[in-house]
């Protein structure tokens, strides 16, 4: 999470003011990724590029620069001396068993760590990619078992399935037409970084059977000892994954759903499939166009001060402020974003001592602020914002600030409780002075008969 400077984002607002009319003129929905335009497409030779002309065409229309490479070629490399060469990588090689040296499951993961986004297609074959899927806590059915569904009755084979697009899901545009799918389903682990885009229909299941006689096999598979049954709407067909470092990877159960054929295939009389828009939405998310947030900057200072302190004293009242903006793909710029309602701020030393809501400040777009009283416990504290929600960029920010006890001269003085003591001290010294005066001024006069008595 890079923290930009406040000025920067202000500048952006200004910039946006300029851009808005222009874009309005252009009027053509044209979206940009927040992380870059260069895309490497690893396309297996066995697949004809023309079958995907619409998909790739749309991408180029978006302004992406596509570079095609067959998995076996050595050039262009995905990583050159430890620097990722592309902003996004599409791996459309579902059946490819062997790759050039620079492409391994490990290197793909390292790509993610270098904040490159991945779009990977799976198939029923056992390939390095399928083994990689397991690292993303995707659980694939055994090789050669595609998803099939007898529902609804239709004229397409059971493995080509019209899938209802998800309702009420911010990532995919609403009321799409059903989506043609053919490929392998993925059972999901309990990893919260998974973002299922398309769930399998409840009636569907993974099976290698092609006749009714296969039913017993299914029963056995489901039994305790069996290899497991992949069935029902818990399965995901297209699954996004956002790593802790905010890189995005999307797993597609089957490559066919991106073909022109599926794009144009009707789901009912005169009703186009939703594939094209769905593909658009998926790539938009994967390539960091949609749901991309960032913390521009954070500030903290004592109430009715403006500058941050090196350290805070216990019981200070401190204001913490975060400025958050969201990427606007149409205008290709960051806009202040105030629609986060459930963000929280923690003030932590070992354990959070304070966890409180960090609400948006009404009237000040992009500004979130909260004021609280520093605990009466000294130590090295941290302001922690840790906002993670499925599908959108994780917002994380940690600011270390020591909390110290009051200085020797910051304690209250002249307390009423201590008045008698003050008085006592002062009267003692006064008496001392007078006594000194008496003594020095006095005269040594021995009492008449005292001496003899005392010198026993």
């Amino acid at each position: 999470m890079t923290i930009f400077h406040r000025q920067r984002s202000q500048g952006m607002r200004f910039l946006r003011g300029l851009l808005l009319p222009l874009v309005a003129l252009a009027g053509f929905a044209f979206a940009r990724s927040s992380t870059g335009d260069s895309v490497l497409v690893l396309l297996d030779p066995s697949l004809d590029r023309d079958n995907f002309s619409i998909f790739f065409g749309d991408l180029e229309k978006q302004g992406y620069k596509l570079t095609f490479r067959s998995p076996k070629e050595a050039e262009p490399q995905i990583i050159k001396d430890d620097v990722a060469q592309f902003a996004h990588v599409i791996v459309f090689a579902p059946d490819t068993k062997s790759y050039a040296a620079d492409i391994t499951p490990q290197s793909l993961v390292s790509l993610l760590n270098k904040n490159t986004n991945l779009l990977l297609a799976l198939s029923t074959k056992q390939t390095p990619i399928t083994s990689l899927a397991a690292e993303f806590s995707l659980i694939l059915p055994p090789p050669g078992t595609p998803l099939i569904s007898h529902f609804p009755e239709r004229d397409t084979p059971a493995t080509i399935i019209p899938v209802e697009p998800p309702r009420a899901q911010s990532l995919v545009s609403s009321n799409l037409a059903p989506i043609w799918f053919s490929g392998v389903p993925q059972a999901l682990g309990n990893n919260p970084m998974l973002v299922p885009f398309l769930k399998a229909p409840p009636q569907s299941f993974a099976s290698d059977g092609d006749s009714d006689s296969g039913s017993d096999a299914l029963v056995e598979a489901a039994e305790k000892g069996g290899e497991g049954l992949w069935a029902g709407s818990q399965l995901s067909l297209v699954t996004g994954f956002q790593t802790l470092k905010n890189a995005r990877a999307t797993w597609v159960g089957g490559i066919d759903m991106f073909t022109d054929e599926f794009f144009n295939k009707e789901v009912s009389k005169g009703k186009q499939s939703g594939n094209r828009q769905f593909a658009r939405d998926v790539t938009a998310w994967t390539f960091q166009e949609s749901n991309v947030l960032r913390i521009d900057t954070v500030e903290h200072h004592r109430v009715n001060e403006t500058l941050p302190r090196e350290t805070y004293t216990i019981n200070d009242r401190v204001t913490y402020t975060a400025y958050i903006s969201k990427f606007n793909p149409e205008l290709d710029l960051w806009e202040p974003y105030s629609n986060i309602k459930d963000m929280q701020l923690e003030f932590t030393m070992l354990d959070p001592h304070i966890r409180t809501a960090l609400p948006p400040v009404p009237g000040e777009p992009g500004k979130y602020s909260v004021t609280f009283r520093v605990p009466d416990r000294h130590g090295v504290f941290k302001f922690v914002v840790d906002y993670k929600r499925k599908g959108s960029t994780y917002l994380e920010s940690t600011t270390v600030v020591p909390v110290v006890p009051p200085r020797h001269d910051e304690y209250p003085r002249f307390l009423s409780a201590a008045w008698p003591y003050y008085a006592g001290a002062i009267s003692t010294s006064a008496a001392f002075v007078i006594f000194v005066a008496l003594w020095l001024g006095g005269d040594e006069r021995e009492p008449k008969k005292g001496k003899g008595a005392k010198a026993e």
């Binding site: 003591y421 006592g424 010294s429 006594f435 006095g442 040594e444 021995e446 009492p447 005292g450 005392k454």
Partner: protein
């Protein structure tokens, strides 16, 4: 501490019976003590009284930052008592090297140092 004992008799002198030992003690003291010593003793009484009052306050009301002042009173008291012991002609034999003037110089120095700490401790 001596003065606490000597002080009450000061008030009893008129009222009490002649034979009372404390009274005899009081008389002995009254006759055989020089004015200067009595001056000191009066000072001692004063210190004890202020000490007692503060101590009461500390016990009854709030012991918040008390040590300084007790120490102040007690310290002043013992210094004065030391002075008394040193200038007491009866103890000439003991303090060969300390003349009354030297004693007083010591006393003054000690008190100043003491008061410095007291005020430093007042917070």
């Amino acid at each position: 501490m001596p003065a606490t004992k000597t002080a009450p008799p000061a008030k009893q002198t008129v009222s009490h019976a002649q034979s009372h030992p404390l009274l005899s003690l009081w008389n002995a003291y009254y006759e055989s003590t020089s004015t200067r010593l009595k001056t000191i003793d009066a000072f001692l009484v004063f210190l004890v009284l202020s000490g007692v009052i503060q101590f009461l306050y500390c016990i009854l009301v709030s012991n918040f930052p008390f040590n300084a002042f007790l120490a102040g009173c007690v310290g002043q008291f013992v210094l004065a008592a030391s002075l008394r012991a040193q200038v007491n002609p009866a103890n000439r034999s003991e303090f060969k090297e300390v003349s009354p003037e030297r004693a007083f110089a010591d006393f003054a120095l000690g008190s100043i140092v003491l008061h410095f700490f007291v005020y430093n401790f007042l917070g």
